[in-house]
Amino acid sequence: MTPIRPEAVSRRGAGAPLALTLLFAAHTAGTAAGTASDAPAPATKASIVSLGDIRKGDSSSRLEIELELPDFPAAEVAAARLHVRTAVDDTGRDLVPDDDRKKPFEPLRQGRTAGPDETPAPTVVQLKIRNPARKAKVLAEISGDVELYLPGRDPNALTRIPNIPAWAGKRLESPALAASGVRIAFLTEEQLEAEKKRQAEKRKEEARKQGVLGEMLESLASAFLRAFFSPEAGDVVFAVEDPGGRVVQMALLDAAGEDQTTGRMQQQGLTVLSSSRRGPRPDWSLEVRLRTPKSEERRSFTLKHVPLP
């Protein structure tokens, strides 16, 4: 990780010295570093909602499974991550995806809390595995772990930084972020420009070490600068340092607490949030959802003899 250069930081407003220590994250929001432990988790009930066998004969093919977890009301679970341990059809084909261990937490639609006489809607998670054989009739077994993020269980799992536009050029201050070892800075245009140049220099240096010289080196650097993303009007850019993979999601909330985020993007180690072309209003806040030990549950699931469509 590389510290942001002091000259890249605007001195607008208070709290400017924080930028001296701001680090850019190798692991950004939503790409949690941790993976499911190998230790077995307690089992939970699970049933199939639907299967989608998407067969296109190319890399977009997959078997999508919607899994219902009746022990966990949907209103309580904000995000989930699944790790498939075993997946095999009745012809013996191994369906465990190759990249399963790299998956980040996926935000879920929480829905509303059930009324006193209503049965709470269960959490439904989606997982993707490889396609079964055409000749297969059933999934002989699918088992794995599901990690659930329940922010309501820990006040420190959700933090809101009010009046977010006022933090431009500064590192956000929040006890919950500090407790999770997360550091977030709201970059100004000048800081983003400086960061672009810093990353281009870094790549130039790496290329130079590999023996690239002269015009080729310069054209590599300028190609990198051209490819660097340009935020749209109203976008806000954050540098996120999250070595423990604690950030599950960041959102822009209006004065009434409504999520106004229309797009999220992670580029070159930075997190970009979009709302409207005007950008966040002075009374908007940034909500950061954080995984904490109290807000996480890990459960195992096993299903057998699931008929295929």
Binding site: S50, L51, D53, I54, R55, D58, R134
Partner: protein, 301 residues
């Protein structure tokens, strides 16, 4: 696992046929070939999406020269287990441009899971306006008399009656279409009779009103063409030409209406001058021809 397309290319049984329309000497020398490019078989156990088997096709050959419209009519589809594969119902089967992804696709219901290939046959109907001079109809000064059928021998010969409507006239037409308070009261009463809750009824009413407004809007430079449904259906495309003969770009065309009256709303890129012309491409019989196709033993992914 080999990629499917590679498998398809190396398949011992040809899925590519050169076909000629019966009794058309021109095409006997200039075949139209139908080949399968991609196959996707999306299968669902439940949920909002129906499963589909989609064959993405490629048309080629000298017979495609000048073709501006394509539509496939599937007559039979079977999997290698002997099961008949049903056609997927579609709302419309219009001629589509050969470049459009819509035109190059056959959509069927899923074959049996254990099937390994399918055979599909039918005809492809092609529209080539250069085969019939009457397929290309120019109407000069088409905007001179609004709200009256265009006077054109070419349109008349194809039994196409079309009027350019003013925005005011269109607004009046829309007003007539808009559900009245009486209509809404009847809808409420009928829904109540059928046991719908107040909330459900109001949601349905809002939907009806919303749809009525959504389809009534005309873009700033919109050109509204309207006429009896049967004739309007024969209009494959319309170009707007300025007084200098330069085409005025149309970014989108919206079609609406029923068998009785159909309307096309063209979103022009700039205001259309009153002395502009319209150039219609008409689906005349002489400009249309069909060729049979059979796609044999297409491997399933």
């Amino acid at each position: 696992m080999r990629p499917f397309r590679t498998t398809l290319r190396s398949a011992p049984i040809s899925v590519l046929l050169a076909l000629c329309p019966a009794g058309t000497p021109l095409l006997a020398q200039a075949p139209v070939r139908v080949a399968v490019e991609e196959v996707s078989d999306d299968r669902y156990s439940a949920g909002p999406f129906p499963g589909t088997l989609e064959l993405k096709l490629k048309l080629s050959g000298d017979g495609m020269d000048g073709v501006q419209g394509v539509r496939f009519l599937v007559k039979a589809a079977r999997d290698d287990q002997g099961n008949v594969i049903q056609l997927k119902e579609s709302l419309r089967n219009d001629f589509e441009s050969p470049e459009s992804s819509l035109s190059q696709k056959i959509v069927l219901k899923n074959p049996a899971r254990k099937a390994s290939s399918v055979t599909v046959s039918g005809t492809v109907e092609l529209f080539s306006p250069k085969r019939d001079p009457n397929a290309d109809v120019a109407v000069p000064n088409a905007f001179a008399k609004l709200n009256k059928p265009l006077s054109s021998k070419g349109l008349k010969a194809s039994k196409v009656e079309v009027s350019v409507l003013s925005k005011e006239r269109w607004a009046e037409e829309q007003k007539k279409q808009k559900p009245s308070e009486k209509d809404l009261a009847e809808m409420r009463a009928e829904a109540k009779k059928q046991g719908a809750s107040e909330q459900e009824i109001e949601a349905a009413i809002a939907l009806v009103q919303g749809l009525s407004e959504a389809f009534g809007g005309v873009p700033e430079n919109g050109v509204i063409l309207s006429g009896p449904g049967a004739g309007m259906e024969l209009i494959q495309s319309v170009k707007i030409l300025g007084p200098d003969g330069e085409e005025i770009h149309v970014s989108s065309t919206m079609k609406q209406g029923d068998q009785k009256t159909k309307t096309m709303i063209l979103d022009a890129s700039k205001p259309v001058p009153p002395n502009a012309s319209l150039r219609f491409t008409i689906l005349t019989d002489k400009a249309r021809f069909t060729v049979p196709f059979e796609l044999k033993d297409v491997p399933l992914p």
